[in-house]
Amino acid sequence: MSTQTEAPPIDAVGPPGTSAPRRRRRMTPRLVGYLLILPTVVVLAGVQGYPLVKLVLLSLQDLTQRELFSGLPAPYVGFANYQKVLTDPDFYVVVARTVVFTVVNVALTLLLATGVALVMRAASRWCRLLLTVVLICVWAMPQVVSTLVFNWLFDYEFGVVNWLLGRLPGVDMDNHDWYANAFSGFGVITLIVVWGAIPFAAITLYAGISQVPKELEEAARVDGASATQTFLRVTYPILRPIYTIVTVLSVIWDFQVFNQIWVARGSKPEPEYQTLGVYSFMRAFGVNEYSLGAAVAVVTVLLLLVFTVFYIRQSLRLGEID
């Protein structure tokens, strides 16, 4: 048993294409494929399928609380909701702000998470353990609480950060308001978001990195490649599918960020703090404009698709390689 789990290193396997003789097989691969995805399809079609169809229908209707509570059919209004969203000049400002926010946050998350993963790989066992425990603790902290703690750290009255910075010579942080201008305010929000996103990204990347045989990297080093070159030429290509996932997911999450901004602004965000998630809540869900909210949601999905189309294509292509 145990001898068989000793998988040969990748480079020990013969060149691809020297395929093994056809083995005994009762089912066609196609059928097996369908059987394997069946349970997932059932769950997703059941729990997500109906809500998604409903969402699209909703975006073409005008559903108010009256219809919602009574179960009466809502009138269809064609693309009126979309028109309302797309003719709102604020909407484009919000989208632009959201895009910038997403790019900055995703880039920082990936950069820092890669750094952490590489440090974990290079560090001693105890240090790796320490980092892992820290990451898990950060990840395990309920979001409701972590946003409150950050709020506290940067509070105008009770802020720990203001107090600490105020100890520095020549710095007066009494009555310093981090949110008085949107630039420093978004700085704090970025800190909260990236801090919360690093554990997932770093642990996933580390899991990926640990799949890369050390021999490969060592061989590259022996051949005279620098650490950066080794990472870019050897490690990164192997990790690409994982990077794709982490990037796309980070984009999706940061694009829709809501909680961190909402709590940081004491549930009263100023217009200059509105990203798409906050905007759609304030213009739609928070004020019971379900149909408008549905339209914003559909537009959000379309925007995200545009945003991630490069990665999707890459991912589908990658999916074909094996």
Binding site: R23, G115, A140, P142, L148, I203, G208, I245, T308, S315
Partner: protein
């Protein structure tokens, strides 16, 4: 063999640098968590102060007592364990199957499946609350833990499938084929070759699935109307009222909530190590 040499190698400068950076990163990252723990053990008078106190000389368990004795703590704990671990186990099984399907098998509609899995994750949650509620209402699953698990599955599955697909794809198909040349069936080859190599991925995704469903608030709050059915995050926010926040009890509650996740990770951590060694490290 190679590892023996690695172990004996004198500490390289790179390792020292990595350790220093690692410790520095840990200290910065952990601070909010430390603040949570600290607040949880502080006496009430030391919690909110203009001059922050970074240590307490009067640690007390009174916040924990208040949190534990608040209504429905045990109900919420039980419900959360059921929901989170239930979601995690089912999600991992379903996702592994689907991940193998899309990474290893060619079938008509595979691309569409991958595409749908991706798009599903892009829909803002706030837009789905009412439709999901109506759906569960129509199958009489509102206010049941089963309904919540089903909902979480739908949210967690796409991610788990996607991630696991990456890990499965990362295992060269040649390894499996080699095993099959040696007489393994496809299933045996999968179990003995692919599974150990995918294990780190399974661990990463299981933590993801666990934490997502352990900490999720809004769907649980909307779907579960009876208080004896509520989960821990819903229970936790009861310390935030219009009349102020009981920071002590809130942080004590949050600490207790975080412990099972950390413990779970500590347990599977060992398996991560053995999963990893299957690759190269062990001689």
């Amino acid at each position: 063999m190679a590892t023996l040499a690695t172990r004996r190698r004198p500490r390289s400068r790179g390792r020292v640098v990595a350790n220093v950076v690692g410790v520095a990163v840990s200290v910065v990252m952990i601070f909010p968590v430390y603040w949570m723990l600290l607040t949880a053990v502080k006496p009430g008078s030391e919690i909110l102060t203009y001059t922050p106190r970074f240590v307490t000389w009067h640690p007390s368990g009174s916040n924990f007592v208040r949190a534990v004795s608040s209504p429905h703590f045990l109900d919420a704990l039980g419900n959360s364990v059921l929901v989170a671990f239930g979601t995690m186990v089912v999600a991992l099984v379903l996702a592994l199957l689907a991940a193998v399907a899309i990474a290893r098998f060619r079938f008509y509609g595979r691309k569409a499946f991958v595409f749908v899995i991706l798009v599903v994750q892009m829909v803002p949650l706030s837009a789905l609350i009412i439709p999901i509620y109506l759906l569960l209402n129509s199958i009489d699953a509102v206010n049941t833990l089963g309904g919540v698990i089903l909902t979480y599955l739908a949210f967690v599955l796409p991610f788990t499938i996607w991630t696991l697909r990456g890990f499965v794809a990362g295992v060269p198909a040649e390894l499996e084929e080699a095993a099959m040349v040696d007489g393994c069936t496809r299933f045996q080859a999968f179990r003995k070759v692919v599974l150990p190599l995918v294990f780190p991925g399974l661990v990463a995704t299981s933590i993801y699935a666990l934490i997502q469903s352990w900490n999720e608030f809004i769907m649980a709050y909307v779907l579960l109307s009876d208080q004896d059915k509520e989960t821990l995050p819903v229970w936790l926010v009861s310390f935030v009222t219009a009349r102020g926040i009981d920071y002590g009890a809130l942080m004590a509650g949050a600490t207790m909530m975080a412990v099972p996740v950390v413990v779970f990770f500590a347990i599977i951590q060992r398996h991560v190590a053995s999963g990893l060694t299957a690759g190269a490290v062990k001689g």
